[in-house]
């Protein structure tokens, strides 16, 4: 009965119903819209935090660039997820000599490794992270064909190259072709050393803007390849390595302050360079989002407070305004509970309908406001601070900004983030084992054997915890070796190695080793190509054996990861103390055991 009475009252008293409905409707619409916008802003803030590429850049204060040690200080921070440092011949870093002047002919039937062609060359730059290269990061350049440099390339296992569009068009090159990088090392007096390095084209990039001088756009090889190739040069050709800038990808906005603290703590004195950050667009966007959040919350708060007060007042007023009706119904014998129930039901019915329609309308209003905010506020904020750099400059002192766009929506937060592959740093956690390896030549028991001994290929394997390989001497016991020096590199061989007996008898064996033999060393004498043995050497002291383990076996020599990096750096462009460490693979400690 009370349903019938309530429905009839609602229909027969339209002004009261409509007034009550619209009052609730407007409150709900305002509340829904405010809360949805607030929620959309919160989503957008977290999306921005997740998608924004936070980059700290180490830029030089002086023209001659930065020291590698400065870069090393920065790389000790665990917040650094990835980094980029670019080496180019212009900076004296990539194998010194001539640029890529000789390219293979697609028409040739001969092996491309030994074919030289005349033609204009292209500068080559080595990068640790192509996506963090300024021109790519800013969106000025993008990969047109192929994948770009891969993890295999970055690790130094595959000699990859990404070439510019103009070079591809000029020589009819395509992804998958092999090109030969050709260097003419002029450092040996009276002797010219030619070096030919094969590279597979894995990407062709293009510039999204019109360029004045296309020759300024180089080909890119992975830094590890650049370093490895550098080993092929005579010692004298290795110039002091300095860098123009280094960019570090950080985990988040809060990482900036931590990063600076860590870098300072690790000894960087900021004499040569300074750290700059690309937080301007992020800050502009997040400030705008916070403002919208605050406005939405304020509106929601006001609407809630005022709305509830008005609603309560109006509900009470409506109840009291029906006193005569309530009295009459009471006199007519309607129980008080039913009278109040009928009135409550009327309010609930109106409330329910108003809430339902109000929420729906709130979504519409919120979405419309979101669109308006996107067009009028966020779009401008995302563009306002974007750095545009000149073509001639190498952007050595500007922060790197990615043209990130973010838009709020009640349905889905729209964002345009970076879509390029990032070469993340491999780091070793507490329960992980980091393993790296590189191939070298043994050259005998003394440095003089370099010219007389037969070269024997073997791999040096670096493990972050040598104890997992069941070594005969545990890591803690190494300092007890007679004449131990932390500056020397100590290694272990397999129990089945021919060296094992000698180590057992004498306690240790000294090996001299030379750079890897993955590629041919060739020199040109007249018109013929000849093998070259002009290589550097390093000393490795074998002090024990390793047992059965999943990381190394056979003729491998096992060293600690830090020693591995020092050994590697001996043959690379960098000095032992400031080598850019790379970990080849990371395994869970338990799983591999």
């Amino acid at each position: 009965m009370i349903f019938k009475f309530a429905f009839r009252n609602l229909i027969r008293l339209p002004w009261r119903t409509v007034l009550y409905f619209f009052m609730i409707f407007f409150i709900i619409v305002s509340m829904t819209a405010s809360v949805l916008i607030w929620h959309a802003c919160l989503n957008a803030e977290s999306t921005l935090e997740e998608n924004y590429v936070f980059v700290a850049s180490l830029v030089p204060k002086k023209k001659n660039g930065l020291l590698l040690s400065d870069l090393s200080y920065c790389l000790t921070d665990t917040e650094v997820l990835a980094y980029n440092v670019t080496m180019s011949e212009r900076e004296g870093c990539i194998p010194f000599g001539e640029n890529m002047k000789k390219l293979p002919s697609k028409e040739s039937t001969e092996s491309p490794e030994k074919i030289l062609f005349d033609g204009r060359g292209c500068a080559v730059a080595a990068v640790e992270n192509l996506s963090l290269e300024h021109s790519f990061f800013s969106g000025k350049c993008r990969i047109r064909e192929g994948t770009g440099l891969s993890a295999e390339g970055y690790s130094g296992n595959v000699p990859e190259i990404v070439i510019p569009w103009w070079l591809a068009e000029r020589y009819g090159l395509a992804v998958g072709d092999t090109v030969v990088r050709y260097y003419n090392a002029l450092y040996l007096i009276g002797q010219t050393t030619h070096i030919f390095l094969n590279c597979e084209i894995v990407g062709i990039y293009e510039c999204t803007e019109t360029v004045k001088n296309e020759m300024q756009y180089p080909a890119y090889v992975p830094l590890a390849i650049g370093e490895r190739d550098y080993k092929k040069l005579p010692n004298g050709a290795r110039d002091a390595f300095n860098i123009q800038r280094a960019d570090f990808l950080l985990g988040g906005r809060d990482g900036f302050e931590d990063f600076v603290r860590t870098v300072e703590k690790n000894g960087m004195d900021f004499k040569n360079g300074e750290l700059i950050f690309n937080n301007s667009v992020y800050d502009a966007l997040s400030v705008e989002l916070e403002n919208i959040c605050a406005i939405a919350l304020t509106v929601a708060g006001i609407v809630l407070t005022v709305g509830v007060c008005v609603l309560v007042f109006f509900t009470v007023y409506l109840y009291h305004s029906r006193e005569k009706e309530r009295t009459l119904l009471a006199y007519l014998g309607m129980p008080k509970g039913k009278i109040n129930g009928m009135i409550a039901l009327e309010h609930i019915l109106v409330f329910t309908v108003a809430v339902g329609i109000g929420i729906g309308a709130g979504f519409g209003v919120a979405e419309r406001i979101c669109q308006s905010v996107n067009e009028s506020v966020l779009e401008k904020a995302s563009l306002s601070e974007t750095i545009t750099s000149g073509e001639d400059e190498l952007e050595t002192t500007e922060p790197m900004e990615y043209p990130v766009k973010i838009g709020i929506s009640v349905f889905e937060t729209a964002s345009e983030g970076m879509d390029m592959e990032i070469n993340y740093r491999k780091t070793v956690g507490e329960n992980e084992i980091g393993v790296s390896s590189c191939t070298y030549y043994t050259v005998g028991d003394s440095a003089t054997d370099i010219l007389t001994s037969a070269l024997e290929l073997f791999s040096v394997v670096g493990i972050s915890d040598i104890d997992v390989a069941a070594t005969s001497i545990r890591r803690e016991a190494l300092p007890q070796i007679p004449n131990y020096s932390p500056s020397l590199i100590y290694g272990f061989v397999s129990k089945d190695s021919p060296y094992a007996a000698e180590i057992a008898e004498n306690g240790r064996k000294v090996l001299f080793i030379a750079g890897d033999g993955k590629n041919s060393y060739v020199s040109m004498s007249g018109s013929s190509l000849e093998e070259s043995t002009m290589i550097g050497t390093a000393m490795l002291i074998l002090v024990g054996t390793y047992g059965e383990n999943p990381y190394c076996s056979g003729s491998d020599i096992l060293v600690g990861l830090a020693d591995y990096h020092r050994l590697y750096s001996h043959f690379s462009i960098t000095s032992g103390g400031y080598y850019i460490e790379r970990i080849g693979a990371v395994y869970p400690r338990e799983e591999k055991r």
């Binding site: 009965m1 009839r8 009252n9 027969r12 008293l13 005569k324 009706e325 009295t327 009459l328 119904l329 009471a330 006199y331 007519l332 014998g333 309607m334 129980p335």
Partner: protein, 221 residues
């Protein structure tokens, strides 16, 4: 026949000014077929008496007996629905309802078994409302007509007791006499117990019995 008996009814309520003794040991007997008038000046306790008789309120002391049964022991809502018909000075018609719906309302609440619409229309005709006016909203009627609709509503469920609180208070003389005539007929022709609270001497004159309320004390005049 005795239908209602008030025994030593007392009722107090508290106002800002202080405690008010609205009724002081009021006693009376009401019979069917008789029209009673309760007169007295404003604030003398007439309306309090009305609500106690209707079972809307419970006396502090004393009791109301319906056919010898105390109202305290009855379902008073049901008692009102089935045995009491109320008429008010300001009609108390629901503005959202038509004339016939207002009458039907009391039938619905009384759970009238028959054809409610036909009964309501019959009652309206009985009090002189024309058929073409049945579906007009109650606000579209004159004061006299509205009170007649109120009377129709009061008698629709065929209660034995009709309580009328100043039924002519808002009416002109002619309409007042019409309403009084209807109430008199209800008592005399239909054997209802009609209790009318009034200020009007001409209304009291038409009553078979007049009781006077004076400062909460009920006396036979």
């Amino acid at each position: 026949m005795k239908i209602l008996e008030l025994k030593q009814l007392s009722y107090d309520y508290v106002t800002k000014v202080g405690k008010v003794h609205a009724l002081k040991e009021a006693s009376a007997v009401f019979e069917t077929g008789v029209i009673y008038a309760i007169v007295g000046r404003s604030g003398s306790g007439k309306s309090t008496l009305m609500s106690l008789i209707a079972g809307l309120d419970v006396p502090k002391d004393g009791d109301v007996f319906y056919r010898g049964e105390s109202l305290r022991g009855l379902d008073r809502d049901k008692f009102r629905r089935e045995h009491i018909g109320m008429i008010f000075q300001s009609y108390y018609l629901l503005p959202q309802l038509t004339a016939v719906e207002n009458v039907e309302l009391s039938l619905e609440l009384a759970k009238y078994k028959g054809d409610k619409r036909a009964r309501a229309e019959k009652m309206l005709s009985l009090v002189g409302i024309k058929k073409e006016q049945f579906r007009k909203r109650s606000t579209q009627f004159s004061g006299g007509e509205q009170q007649r609709i109120a009377v129709a509503r009061a008698i629709a469920a065929d209660p034995e007791i009709i309580l009328a609180d100043e039924p002519t208070g808002n009416l002109d003389n002619e309409n007042s006499m019409n309403i009084v005539g209807i109430l008199t007929d209800l008592a005399h022709k239909y054997a209802k117990c009609v209790i009318v609270i009034t200020h009007a001497a001409e209304v009291a004159e038409k009553a078979d019995s007049v009781l006077k309320m004076d400062d909460g004390v009920l006396k036979m005049k």
